[in-house]
């Protein structure tokens, strides 16, 4: 179980980092989303992985730490709000700047612009 879990977190993180480093705002937003999924899983595992145990200290003999679950819940809510804002801003940047490059001016356009003037 630990191995699968760790692999999941690792793959999600690497995909997230790769996409975040791309040039268009859409990939960056998707990358950030993947990254936040990976982080949520990681945070969940910080209370140790346990099977068949309740997060309540009751009469159960086996129980798991409830705190990471509360932390993950908070992190999910915050991450959701932040992603929503990033999407809206990306759309606005697309409308304001006329392209979806993260810098607002794609490198291809800069190179091709002087050529047009020359011709």
């Amino acid at each position: 179980m630990e191995l699968i879990f760790a692999l999941c977190v690792g793959i999600l993180t690497s995909c997230g980092v790769y996409l975040t480093l791309r040039g268009s705002t859409f990939s960056v937003v998707v990358g950030l989303t993947l990254l936040s999924y990976a982080i949520n899983l990681f945070l969940f595992a910080s209370g140790r992985l346990a099977l068949n145990s309740a997060p309540i200290l009751n009469e159960a003999t086996q129980y798991t730490d409830p705190l990471p679950q509360a932390l993950v819940l908070t992190a999910i809510v915050i991450g959701f709000a932040m992603t929503a804002f990033a999407v809206i801003l990306a759309m606005r940047a697309r409308a304001d700047l006329g392209n979806d490059h993260v810098d607002g001016n794609p490198p291809d356009a800069e190179q091709s612009a002087p050529q047009k003037e020359a011709s």
């Binding site: 936040s36 945070l43 908070t74 991450g79």
Partner: protein, 507 residues
């Protein structure tokens, strides 16, 4: 229980929510007066709190839940000083914003209130996960404030800012997960006790978590390799927003003080002072980089942004030099530099409005309508920022230089601080010359500063002479505030152990 410590979070949050409710949501005038009133009220309460915590540190248990499981607010001298500074800045910035910026977009005042709530919460909280939550509150308000008013520059700057900060939040959570996984607590005081009891096999993991936190706080406070977002963001933001943002880098610095001074400080066992070898070179590099940026800046706003970077470098230096004993000088400098930078951001906006198309760039332009008034204010704030006598910048830099007592450190600190002051002097003289004296001879424009804008700038600049006049009592207070980093942790640990004793008796 004394409820004063929670009011700096509660008042702005309630005022912000009130402003979003239907009868007030469409009436700008009511929002304006409500925000002035609540910030002025809060400022009064903060002053009361400043004197109250000097006699007794306030530990506020939210909902009465006992630490380390419940969340607590810690109002000691250090946090209350910064909260008061935030509220004061916010008051001046909202005064300034009422002249023009309130109409350039919707929800200016509510966003302002939520921003103040987030910053105050980050300063007051005693729980490291709660610190994350307040960071997110202040960030999401700052995202919206940054694009307030619209325009290409703002949109461009804010996409970078948001992406970087979302990545920063991701690293923050990884660090928190690692620290919780190894130490089993998130209460800062409890962490400071647990860190020396770490099992040998988990020391390396905890160290990784701690250094990840340094990365996150370095990003927020604009420490060298992570400061590239700052100049662009601050110079693109609307003036009152930029003035309020001047405190945001200090939130990162404050977190560094609390985490690397309080938790991983001298009593950190194997992890004692782990951040110090990293902060040393980075602090000096930040200072040098800010200095070069200030020399190269083509406009007053960019110059001021680079001055903010320089002040971050100096503040990081005071945290690590002299084995952490010079922090009180740093705190004195912190308040002075924040207020001076905020005043300069507001002045840059005035200059940019009155010079027409030339804006605040250092080029030849038409004269300003109120050149005398604006020039005098610029002169005062430049003297304060550079550190010339008689204003507080001089006292602050003298204190910083004086507190570098170890010979091997002296050479670095003295040369970095003194050369940066000299170059700041050059940069500001050049800027002033081209802004006020390089004129094209045509008639001045008709734009004039509104009285409320001048009042906001003058209020901010009044702090500088006050800070010089009361330097004695203030340095004493800052000295006790610097000691609070470890002292307050012990007080909270006392509360925890008292509670454990009560629990033990009742069983």
């Amino acid at each position: 229980m004394n409820h004063l410590p929670i009011l700096p979070i509660l008042i702005p949050s309630l005022a912000g929510i009130l402003m979003l409710l239907p009868p007030i949501a469409d009436r700008l005038a009511i929002q304006r007066y409500l925000s002035w009133f609540s910030l002025a009220l809060l400022l009064g309460l903060c002053f009361q709190l400043v004197f109250q915590v000097d006699t007794e540190t306030q530990i506020y248990l939210l909902g009465g839940w006992q630490p380390p499981f419940g969340i607590l607010l810690l109002a000691d001298r250090l946090s209350v000083t910064l909260v008061t500074l935030t509220v004061f800045l916010a008051f001046c910035a909202s005064l300034y914003g009422s002249a023009h910026e309130e109409t350039t977009g919707r929800f200016f005042y509510p966003l302002f209130m939520f921003q103040v709530m987030g910053i105050n919460g980050a300063f007051l909280t005693g729980d490291i996960f709660n610190l994350f939550v307040f960071f997110e509150i202040l960030l999401i308000a700052s995202y919206a404030l940054l694009v307030h008013g619209g325009g290409k520059e703002k949109t461009k700057a804010s996409f970078h800012y948001i992406t970087l900060n979302l990545l920063g939040s991701a690293f923050f959570l990884v660090a928190l997960g690692t620290i919780y996984g190894t130490m089993g607590t998130l209460n800062m005081a409890d962490l400071s006790a647990k860190v020396s009891l770490l099992q040998p096999e988990s020391v390396a993991i905890a160290k990784a978590g701690a250094l990840l936190l340094l990365l996150v706080f370095g990003l927020k406070s604009a420490m060298l390799p992570l400061q590239f977002w700052l100049t662009k963001t601050y110079s693109a933001a609307a003036a009152p927003v930029a003035a309020l943002f001047a405190i945001m880098t200090k939130v990162g610095l404050y977190s560094i003080y609390r985490v690397f001074g309080g938790i991983f400080g001298d009593n950190g066992g194997e992890l004692a002072n782990i951040a110090t070898p990293w902060i040393w070179p980075l602090a000096i590099a930040t200072l040098v980089f800010g200095m070069l940026g200030a020399l190269a800046a083509p406009s007053l706003r960019l110059l001021t942004s680079n001055i903010v970077v320089m002040s971050v470098g100096t503040l990081l230096l005071t945290f690590v030099m002299n084995e952490g004993q010079s922090l009180s000088a740093g705190l004195y400098y912190l308040v002075h530099s924040t207020v001076a930078a905020a005043a300069l951001f507001l002045l840059a906006d005035q200059i940019s409005v009155q010079r027409g198309n030339a804006q605040d760039r250092f080029v030849v332009s038409r004269p300003m309508q109120q050149a005398g008034m604006i020039g005098a204010l610029y002169f005062i704030s430049a003297i304060a920022v550079i550190g010339l006598p008689p204003l507080s910048g001089f006292v602050a830099k003298a204190l910083v230089l004086q507190s570098a007592q170890i010979a091997s450190e002296q050479i670095w600190v003295w040369s970095a601080v003194l050369i940066s002051s000299l170059l700041a002097l050059i940069a500001f003289s050049r800027a002033g010359t081209s802004l006020f004296w390089h004129l094209s001879g045509s008639k001045p424009g008709t734009e004039k500063a509104k009285p409320v804008q001048l009042v906001a700038i003058i209020l901010l600049l009044l702090v500088t002479p006050m800070w010089t006049v009361f330097a004695g009592p203030i340095t004493g207070y800052m000295h006790r505030a610097a000691d609070d980093i470890t002292h307050s942790n012990q007080l909270i640990l006392q509360v925890i152990s008292d509670q454990e004793a009560i629990d033990h008796d009742s069983h």
